[in-house]
């Protein structure tokens, strides 16, 4: 396991572009793109790449939060449900209660963050394993999301909200994609250059050693879960904008997609190695794969098999690399 000293920040340009462990997935992504370019006419087009960016927004933002939790050796199963809770709070405050959109967005983010904070308290203060604590929160958040409207959907957001996911400014970028890219950049810089980011690796490597080294493990763990839920909530707002509607059954099994993206990106489920750079590549692999399989008109059932195989390949490659 990697200790904190091994990853001491070095501020050089070469370091900034070093993907650390993500080179394998990156090669995979490039091969995938090359293959799809030759296999189908419609893949290698600017418009299709912009579509892919649209399509990975929700998964991308969720996977960033998930990366931090997995880095400290934890897991968060509640993100799909928190996403739904955030959407329903957003819809309720804006459409039912008639409050302005910024208030609704704030309320949705707070509701999500509180969910993660509770999970963090359960894990650090009551020693509940993260798998169980977040499994419980998954059920609670889903139930709450359903209770808000008694299971029905809500529509009727202001027009600009949906347009923020549709209009491409300068012909390239929607507001939601811009937000995703900003989240990627900030998370990447935080993880590499801030003390808090480095402590995640230390905790994931060995929590006891980290504690002895003077790191407040409990506080940082709680922060990681709160941040993960906050990202799930933000992803929910992006999804609401994309669909122009909210429904409590949204986001079922999204936690598994987020975990898959993180794992494909080379972050180890046992914590301590990997990072945001790899996760971004992992998210892109899933996005490109889904898009490409649609363009190739592969049957939906076979698509599931292919995505499973890619996960196996990614993890096997990682294990093989470690053994060397």
């Amino acid at each position: 396991m990697a200790g904190p000293s091994e990853h001491a920040p070095k501020r050089s340009l070469a370091e900034l572009f070093n993907l650390r462990g993500a080179t394998g997935p990156l090669i995979g992504l490039i091969l995938l793109c090359v293959f799809l370019t030759f296999a189908t006419d419609s893949f290698f087009q600017l418009r299709n790449f912009l579509n892919i960016l649209d399509q990975i927004t929700v998964l991308g933002i969720m996977a960033v939060g998930m990366t931090f939790v997995i880095l400290i050796g934890g897991i968060d199963l509640s993100v799909g449900s928190v996403l739904a809770l955030s959407m329903m709070v957003l819809g309720y405050v804006n459409i039912e209660a008639g409050m302005p959109m910024p208030v609704a967005i704030f309320a949705a983010l707070v509701a999500s963050a509180v969910n993660g904070l509770i999970a963090g308290v359960l894990i650090t203060r009551f020693n509940v394993p993260s798998f169980i604590a977040t499994l419980a929160m998954m059920s609670i958040a889903r139930g709450l999301a359903n209770m808000i409207t008694n299971g029905s959907q809500l529509i009727g957001f202001p027009l600009w909200f949906n347009l923020s996911a549709i209009i491409r400014y300068g012909g390239y970028i929607t507001v939601t994609v811009a937000i995703m890219l900003a989240v990627f950049a900030l998370a990447y810089l935080y993880q590499r250059y801030r003390y808090g980011g480095r402590t995640l690796y230390a905790i994931g490597g060995n929590p006891e050693v980290a504690r002895l080294a003077g790191i407040n493990v409990k506080r940082n763990t709680m922060l990681a879960y709160t941040f993960c839920s906050l990202m799930a909530g933000l992803a929910g707002i992006m999804l609401a904008a994309r669909l122009d509607a909210v429904q409590p059954s949204s986001g079922i099994a999204y936690e598994l997609d987020a975990i898959a993206a993180v794992v494909i990106g080379g972050t180890s489920l046992s914590g301590g190695t990997g990072g945001i750079g790899g996760t971004i590549v992992g998210v892109l692999i899933i996005g490109v794969l889904r898009n490409g399989l649609n363009l190739l008109q592969v049957s939906p059932f076979l698509q599931q098999v292919v995505i499973g195989l890619v996960i196996v390949l990614a993890v096997a490659a990682e294990t093989f690399r470690k053994r060397r």
Binding site: S42, Q153, I155, L243, A245, Q247, S249, S250, N294, L295
Partner: protein, 310 residues
């Protein structure tokens, strides 16, 4: 070899003919919510078979009941340059976004089964759920002599068919003074396993239920297994909806306790959708609402539909 060649020539000729007659619809995109449900699978078969007859390529995408997945898939359909879009919205929200995407491309949008609020397509093809649900519930009430306790297993809450089928069934219940609605539960996926456990719980809470209406055949089949398992087949009569292949086979055996369903003309819906797409593309006008009839199906006529789904 000769026959293959003939077939090839024939199909090429057909393509040429239809291509000349219609405003060049060569590729149709079909977005379905969930191919695991026989109802949607039948529509898909209807579109594919009829498309093949007309020499039109059909691209099918399956959203697995996730609205966000469906929006992505529709984007990908547009990238592939489809000439017409047959849209069955996934999920209760029935997202308007795919319709807007297609509108932006200027291609015909044909809605089947569900239609998004505020963003209608060029035509909407769906069975008339209210009347047919009324007929199914009326039938099971009459089987029980016009009185007793009834329970309803709903589909996914808030979807158009869920709301309409309840409205129809409720009317039949209200028309009979001796009939009391004692239990209602909502399912998430319209699936047999949900029908099974919901029916089991209902019978636990109200052991004297004599009628159950499952809003889809999957739910009704699940309920039927629960009733059989509890040994109550003589007490309870079950009605379903949709006319799934499995349900029709079950009904054809005439064993009960699931006795009646409303068979939707799903293959016909697929054919209507293709015809409407061609008509809209050619600039002809199509009716805003098209209603292929659902047929009340009991063990008397189920066999016929097993052999040949409408």
């Amino acid at each position: 070899m000769k026959t293959t060649l003939k077939l090839l020539v024939a199909s090429a000729a057909m393509t040429a003919v239809s291509g000349a007659a219609m405003a060049e619809v060569e590729k149709i995109g079909l977005a379905v919510p969930n191919l695991q449900a026989d109802f949607f699978n039948q529509i898909k078969l209807g579109v594919e078979n009829y498309g093949a007859e007309k020499g039109i390529e059909v691209i099918v995408v399956d959203a697995k009941n996730d609205t966000a997945t469906q929006v992505s898939q529709v984007q990908d359909l547009m990238t592939q340059g489809i000439d017409a879009f047959i849209y069955i919205p996934a999920g209760a929200a029935a997202a308007a976004v795919p319709t807007r995407l297609a509108r932006a491309e200027g291609i015909p949008v044909i809605n089947v089964d569900r239609t998004p609020e505020g963003a209608p397509g060029d035509t909407f093809i769906a069975g008339e759920s209210v009347e047919s649900a009324y007929a199914v519930c009326d039938h099971i009430i009459r089987l029980q002599g016009g009185e007793g306790k009834i329970a309803i297993i709903h589909g996914q809450k808030g979807t158009t068919p869920e709301v309409d089928r309840f409205t129809g069934c409720k009317r039949a219940i209200d028309e009979h003074d001796g009939v009391e609605l004692v239990a209602q539960q909502w399912s998430q996926q319209w699936s047999p396993d949900e029908g099974f456990s919901i029916a089991q719980n209902m019978m636990q809470a109200n052991p004297d239920i004599t009628m159950i209406f499952g809003q889809a055949d999957g739910l009704a089949m699940g309920a039927a297994r629960a009733i059989e398992g509890a040994g109550l087949s003589d007490q309870v009569v079950i009605g379903g909806y949709d006319g799934d292949v499995a349900a029709l086979e079950y009904l054809a055996e005439c064993q009960g306790p699931f006795w009646v369903t409303a068979t939707q003309s799903t293959q016909l819906m697929g054919r209507l959708a293709v015809d409407s797409a061609l008509a809209v593309a050619a600039g002809e006008s199509v009716p805003e609402r098209q209603i292929p009839d659902a047929v009340l199906t009991t063990c008397a006529n189920a066999k016929r539909f097993v052999a040949n789904h409408p």
